[in-house]
Subunit: 112 residues, 2 copies
């Protein structure tokens, strides 16, 4: 299994400003990152279950994001398999959980 020590190119794209918020914004601004965190918000999912939950996204990106999220310390792979949030990841998830409520109000206003 695996590899996670790809730390050679860990430069979250775009922002090398050094400011943590930028690194975080860039990480979260990649395809499927937010979605993965959201789907893991209250469940441990296997890679394939996660794929299903994520609208059958290609495993290529999913694995890439999971690797990044693990390196960031937000996600971990459990002993007997299955991905779940770390305490830190759960904390992050809580941070944008209010988005859920906001999204509902938003759609009721601008739903095209």
């Amino acid at each position: 299994m695996a590899k996670q020590a790809d730390s050679k190119k860990r430069s979250v794209r775009g922002s090398r400003s050094g400011r943590p918020i930028m690194a975080l914004l860039d990480l979260l601004g990649q395809r499927w990152t937010l979605r993965i965190l959201w789907e893991l918000r209250d469940a441990t999912l296997t890679s394939r279950a996660l794929r299903t939950a994520c609208d059958e996204a290609s495993p290529t990106v999913l694995q890439a994001r999971l690797t990044e999220l693990r390196e960031a310390g937000f996600v971990e792979l459990g002993e007997g398999g299955g991905y779940g949030l770390t305490p830190l990841g759960r904390e992050l998830c809580e941070t944008f959980m209010p988005l859920h409520r906001f999204a509902a109000r938003w759609r009721s206003k601008s739903a095209a």
Copy 2:
């Protein structure tokens, strides 16, 4: 070939689940979207100032994102020029403002 700002195909990619949170997650999960909202959090910026703030991102994507954000009702173009958040956009920005604090703690843990 070139096609952009096609206001017709607003299908936020991937998730057509109908759930507002998914649409929002997909919108925010595009490159520069979070960053743009962040940079506009407390200032009205011209397109070029925004570009500078966003690490000189290409105007192509920036314009595309701005169009999407305007259609979503989060960003607006002021009378005399310059982009700013709408009340709704400001609300959204407040939602993930705690990320700032989180990011600081996060980096102090995982950043080697």
